[in-house]
Structures are given as structure tokens and as C-alpha cells.
Amino acid sequence: MRKTVYLLLIFQLITIPILYAQGVDAAAEETSDLWLFIGRFHPLIVHLPIGFIMLAFLMEVMARWPKFKHLEQSVSFVLTLGILSSVGAAVFGYLLSLSGEYQGSTLDWHLWLGLSTLGFAIIALVLKVKQANTAYFTFLSASVICLTLTGHLGGNLTHGSDYLVRYMPNTLRAMTGMPPKPESKHKPITNLEEAIVFDDLIKPITDNSCESCHNAEKTKGNLRLDTKEGFLKGGENGPSLVPGQAAHSELIKRVKLPKDHEDVMPPEGKKPLSKEEIALLEWWINNDASFDKKVAEVEVPDDIKEILDALVNPQQSSLSPLYAMEVKPASQDEVETLKEMGFSVSPISAESPFIQVSYLISGQPLNDESIKAIKKVAKQTTWLNLGKAALADGQKFTFLKDFNHLTQLHLEKTAITDEEVKDLAQMEFLEYLNLYNTAITDKSVEPLTALKRLRKIYLWETQVSEDGKSSLQKAIPELAIIADGLPQNFDVPLDSLNDSTVIATK
């Protein structure tokens, strides 16, 4: 008897606000604001039923072991808490959906699955009280399944439908039969004049920064920026753009607010638009916010031209392809050992597995032990400075053979020989090689011509002749050979230092 009363009470709790809300939908704004205020507590309470119902299910499963038998007595209590919080979540959720910020089939599914979760949980509780154990467990499981699905859809509504699997590794994707990771949605622009201003230049910006909150499923402020119509229609604060007048367009006003302003778009915590991106948006709106004009058909001021050029020909990445390669980072032990021997070792940048190694201690020749230690990190080393380093008796520079990931190598003022230079020929990534003040001769030129990526070589104070240099230059046209030596006579004739003062001194 008493239970029926409870159930009725719960039913009324759910229905009254819903009916009431529908009744006042067209009424005073203040009231609907109040509903929205209450509705926004949905994310706050929604995790309670998830926890409670899951916990009830887990307790029920665990109680099958004699050791956990005692849990059985608490299941009803936990499940009741789950039902009560589900009711709250459902009511708040419904009120939130009235705002129109969320739409589409995902929302409908989320709503009905949420209600099913609640329904199955209530039925399960009733059956538990009636001691119909098998049926009870079936309904409890059904409730958990619905809960999982609705929770996932809720996440999708909040974060976007590809949020969960966006960064799933391709190997996992293959196993689950999903297509590989989507490449960037926007094609790189090849011909700037023919590019469509909106499609090729503006949409990539808004897709990147606006679309995740202003789309068909999640429509913050009733504004959609995933379609052309959305831009023109605007949102609850009126039109988002005034074609031809960027300064009067809400969209531009909002993105230009200071980073910590309440109304700034994208909201605080999300990455703000860059100066260049804002400039492009303004330029597009000032050109009547046309959706189909090509770049060739609109006026392109100098500053915009600069931005566009940078977009189309991104700085021919002068970075070595090596830095994009993956290697296993050097182990802590290997690095520590090197440091104890007097090497300086650090990653070339915070994100990189590659390391820079230098040996700047004078008076301590590299011996068998220290050479063994650096050979251990040969694959990770990309900048190696052994300038001025002496070798202990019997050691040779042939250990450099293993270092085929070097981009910079300092061997100035060392005892390296023509014979040992041959080992450098397989360093396909080498860009900088310093050999000044070594005994190498023209015999080294031939092996060095194999270094097609070499851009700077220092050959001052070596035995390499002019002919040697010019054949090296011929083999690698982009190479700068620095070997002129220093001006032996650095005197400037004194008469050039005579007074050229314009004003006579007093």
C-alpha cells in the first residue's frame, strides 16, 4: 500500500513540472529562464544515478560469492537511491532540453533511454521486494545496459559525437572494424586565386573553433555555425553578422573581447582565435559575407595577402624529417651514466625523444668506457658536440658509424683522419658538420659528397684545397662552405677615422 503511494508520488514529481513547463512555454520569459536555470543542474546530478545503479548491480553480482553475501541486504537501499536520483536527472534533463540548445535524434534517444533506465530500475525494485529473483536480475541488467547507452549519448551531446573515438589508435580501429582516423577535413589550398573564400578559408576556422557548440545536436544560444543558413539566421542575440560591416557583426564583436570577458567566444578555457583568424573573418564579412565568391573576385588588402600566403605556402618546413621519426627514448640509466662521465645530455626539446650530447670537459680524453656509453644512445642522438675532444690511446672515431641519426656534428679541433671521415658518409640526415682545425685533406671530399642534406660545413684550418672545396660545392649545390679564415690584416687605414664631423667643435 505504502509503496503504491511512493510510486504515485514519484510519478507526479516527474509529470507535474513537465506539464507545467509545456503550459508556460509561451509565457513569460522569466519563468522559462527559471526552468533553464534548474535544467542546467542536470550535469550536476546526472552522475549520481550512474554510480548508484552501477553499484547496485555490482553488489548484486558480488553477493553471489559467500564472502560478499552480506552485500545483498544493502542492494535495495542503493537501488532506491539510484531511482530517486534518476528521477531528478530526468526532470532536470527534460527542462534543459526545452532550451533548444540540444536537438536531433541523439537527444531523443538520450531522453528515451534515460527514461527506460528509470523504468527498468523501478520494475527491478518492485520485483526484488516481491522476491522474483530471476526477473529482478534481468530488469536490473536491462537498466544497466540502458544506463550505459544513455550515458554515452549524453557524453556525445556535450562533447560532440566523435569525442570518444577521435584519437583511437588505428590498430584498435581496425580490430573494431572502424575506418581509419579521418584526415583533416579541409583540403590544402593549391590555387589561391581559385579558392572559395568561405569554403576554403573561413569554414576551416569556424569548424575548428565554433562548430563543436553550434551544430545540429548542440546549438548553444540557438546559433548554428555548421551551415551557411546558420550564419545568416543568427541566434538568440540577433543576427551573427552584418554583411559588409564586420565592426557591427556580433560574431566579430564576440571573438574580439578580452580573453577573460564573460561573453568572449570561444568561451574561456577554449583556445581563442588568433589575430590572423580574426582578420580573415573580418575580411570575409566586409566583403558582404559572400558564400560563393572566389579570392580572385574580392579585394585582398596587403595584410590579408600576407596571411593568405602564409596559409598556402606554409613555411617550407626547414625542419629535418628526422625530427618526425619515432625512436625509443634513451633510458634514464643511460643518460645518468653519461652525465657522470662529464657529458651534457638533454632532449632537443620537451616533446622530442631525440637528444643533444656534448662533451665540453677538457683534459679528459674519451676512453673505451665513455665511448661505449655514448654508443648506447647512438640512435637517439641527433646533435653531437665532440669539438676539442681528445681520444684515449688506441681509440678511433670509427664509433661514429652507429650514429646515423645525427643532424649536427661538431668535430672541430679533433684528431679525426680522412680514413675516419668515411664513416660519416652514411649520416643521411647530417645538416651541419664542423671540421675546422683538423688534419683532413682532399681525400675526405669524396665521402662527404654523399651527405645530400648537408647545408653547412666548416673547413677552416684544414688541408682541403680550393679544388676539393669546389668539387664538394658542385656535388651539394645548397651547401655553404665556410673556410675563408679570418682577416689577417684587420687594420682600417687611420684616415678613414678622421673627423667627418659636420659641426665644428667649439
Binding site: 651534457s344 638533454s346 664542423n434 653547412k456 666548416y458 679570418l486 664631423t501 659636420v502
Partner: protein, 497 residues
Amino acid sequence: MNIFEEEQYRQAELNTRRQFLRKCISGMGGIALGSLMGSALTSCGSDSSSSGLVRSSDNPMGALPSHFLPKAKRVIYLHMAGAPSQLELFDYKPELQKLDGLDCPPSLLEGKRFAFIKGTPKMLGPQFNFAQHGQSGAWMSDRLPHLSSCVDDMTFLKAMHTNEFNHAPAQLLLQTGSARLGKPSMGSWVTYGLGSENQNLPGFMVLVSGGKTPSAGKSIWGSGFLPTVYQGVQCRSKGDPVLYLSDPKGMSKALREQSIQAINKLNQKQFEEIGDPEIMTRISQYEMAFKMQTSVPETMDIKDEPEYIHKMYGTQPGQSSFANNCLLARRLAEKGVRFIQLYHWGWDAHGAAKSEAINHGFKERCHEVDQPIAALLKDLKQRGLLDDTLVVWGGEFGRTPMRENRGGKEMKFVGRDHHLEAFTTWMAGGGIKPGMTYGETDEIGYYGIKDRVHVHDLQATILHQLGLNHEKLTYHFQGRDFRLTDVHGEVVKKIIA
């Protein structure tokens, strides 16, 4: 509280049961918390290295990775204290020549404050002849004949500006990012962010010529609120390069080593109890000092340089000069010192005396620095060091296009007043586009009219070349994160190669 009450209170602090118990509890709590946090808890600062790296406390100068791939690994900063006149060196203004001797129009003076100019000053044209040099056609006056052969390796920032028109605050603003005392200097920030490649020498070294510390005093290479291990170490060019570098009389090297080890053991114990990172700093400083007894003399002794190098720089071993400091800068760069700061002195050409007249003192200053700087650039280039060494030259502000009239009267000598709206700084090497001029001033060199660069932008750019993001290189102090560039600074992307 008067003295008597305080005395009573101190007595009570020592003796009451309540105080005893309180101390017990808070002390234990502190120790427990410290060990829980697994790091030194201090009330004054904490390490918020954005790269998520923990600096090893027993090696605070160990090399650390930068935020992104660096172009430069070290900096040589040639600061001309007193602020050289851009109008007599790099910023050629033929239009100003036509106005020479005329009264300054009032529109230029309205609402402006100058250090000394009073009433209506006269305009002052460039005092020396200019010519274009090199492939890049950069203008340079005939006061820098040697340096003009290096223009194709240099990049000029012609429209620098700052907020301060007095030497000390302007120097502080340039070197520490704030015109007030107490902030860490650029070299301290850089060594804090990157450590140093050479553990036998300080990572941040300072060489001062001209016999006078800059107006801002030694705090200009201080570490502010960063651990003191990151402050600049000044080397002298006469006598012991660093004070007390030699062993005291009657003390052998072995004995010295043992005493330092003993002191460090005691300090280590103290650190384990209290956890103040400054103790670790002290320990590493003792070790560094001991290593420096051998590393510094061998680095600072320029006697072993060949004759033609001395000729090229114009150096004389044992002397104290800017030229010697330039040669030392190259030697320190070779040794992997991270930040090498040179200060030259006497550029404040007001014209109030012969020593600060543009055609006397200023001319001598030019002569003192011209050859050594040119030699330094050529020497670095030849040895393959200019690729990853960023050389920066500049003063703390510029000079006015008007002739200074101290007290409203025409002065005996020719000079210019302090000016914060326009001056020239140049850079070379370290991944900066060579042979480029960036920014432009109006036809009399009074205001920057294109591509202005503020000193904070310069700092941001220097950090950027070292692979550091000036907005991420922060240190938590007094409840907020501090940066070198405070809340300003934009990297000057257009001059980056």
C-alpha cells in the same frame, strides 16, 4: 608591542608548555607534509616548469630541454650602458640634417617629458657621414668602419621603444622585464629554463668593461626570486678573474676539497631536515666554486690565443678592456656557457662635458667597440658558432633628434638627451634572418612609424630563439606566476629565419 613586552613574549616562547606543544605539532606536521609532497616546500617560491620537468635539486644547472626546437643554444648580449645615439650610428636621417640648428617645433614637445631638455631645444642633424654597406645596403656611419663589413650577418631593429627614460629603470626593464628592482634578469631566466651545457662553469657569466657597473647596479644580473644559483657570475679582467678564486695561503688543494666536502655533508643533512631549496643551491655553488678554481683560470686566460687573434680583436692580455671581454665571450661560448652578458660603459652622450660629447667621448666609445665586435662576429662565424649563438647589441633607450639644452641654455659641447620612443638594436646569428632591417622611424628619427618593437618583444624573441615560450617560462612567487615579459611581449616573427 614595546620592547619589554616583546622580551616577555620571547621568554614565553621559549618556556611555556603551550608554545612547546605547538612547536612540536607544527614541526612534525611540516616534516610529514614535506615528505608527502616529496619536494621542498617553501613559502617563497616554487618550481612551475611548464615542460613538466623536475629540476634535479642536486644539479640545478643540468641541461634541460626547451619547450620547442631551439635555433640558438646560447646568447651573447652586448649591452652599451648609457644608451648610444642611433642617429650617429645606424638610423640615417638626411631630413634631420636640413633642420639642423632650427628651433624644435612645439608639436614635438607637447606633453613630453625629457630628462634634461628644457624650453625649446634646437634640432641636431647627424654628426657623422653615413654610407651603405654590403649586399643588404644597410646604412652605417663612418664611426664603425670594422663593423660595417659585417652588415650582411646582422639584423637591425630600427623602431625599438621602451617605457623608461632614465638609465637604471630602463636597464632594469630591458634586462629583467620590470623597471623596479627584484625581478630575475634575462640570463637568470634562461639558465633557469635551460640549465647549462657545461657543469664546470657558471651558466650565466657577466663581463663589465669601462670600470663602472651599469646604473642599475649588480641587481641587473641578479636572480630576483629565482634560486640564487641562476644569478650572473661577474668575471674581472684583472687579477683573479673571480674574487677569492685562488686557494688561500697555506691551504693545499686537497685540504680545500676535503673542507668543501665536509661543509656540503653538513648542508645536505640540514637540507634533509628543512628542505629549503636554497640549501641545495648553496651545496651546488660550493661544488661549482671548487670546479671553477681550475676551469675559470684556463678559460679566462687569453695568453694562449695566437697573435693574429689578438691583432684582430685588438686585445692585450692582462688588460681590462671591452676587446678582452669580446674575446672572452667567444671563449665562453665555445665552452657552452648559456648566457654571456657584456656591459660597456660611457655611452651617455649628453654633451655636458667633453667626455660625453658626441664628437669626443662618443667617438672614443665607438672606437673602443667597433673592432672587437666585428672581430667577435667574424670569429664566431669562422668557428661555426654563429649558427647557434645569438648576438644582441643595444642600449637601454635612444637619443633625441634635438640637441640637449640642459637648463634651457646652449651647451659648450654637442649632445643628445634620453629618448624612449625610438632606438636601434641589432642581432646576429642564432637563427635570425641575416642582412635585414626591420622597422622604420619617421624622417627625423623621433618616433617609430612601422614595425615597432618593444623591449618586451625583444625579450620574447630572444627566448623564442632559445626554444622557450616566453608565456610558459614562469615561476610561482608570492601567489602568482611571473614571467620575464610580465604580461606583454610578442615574438617578432618576421626576423626569424
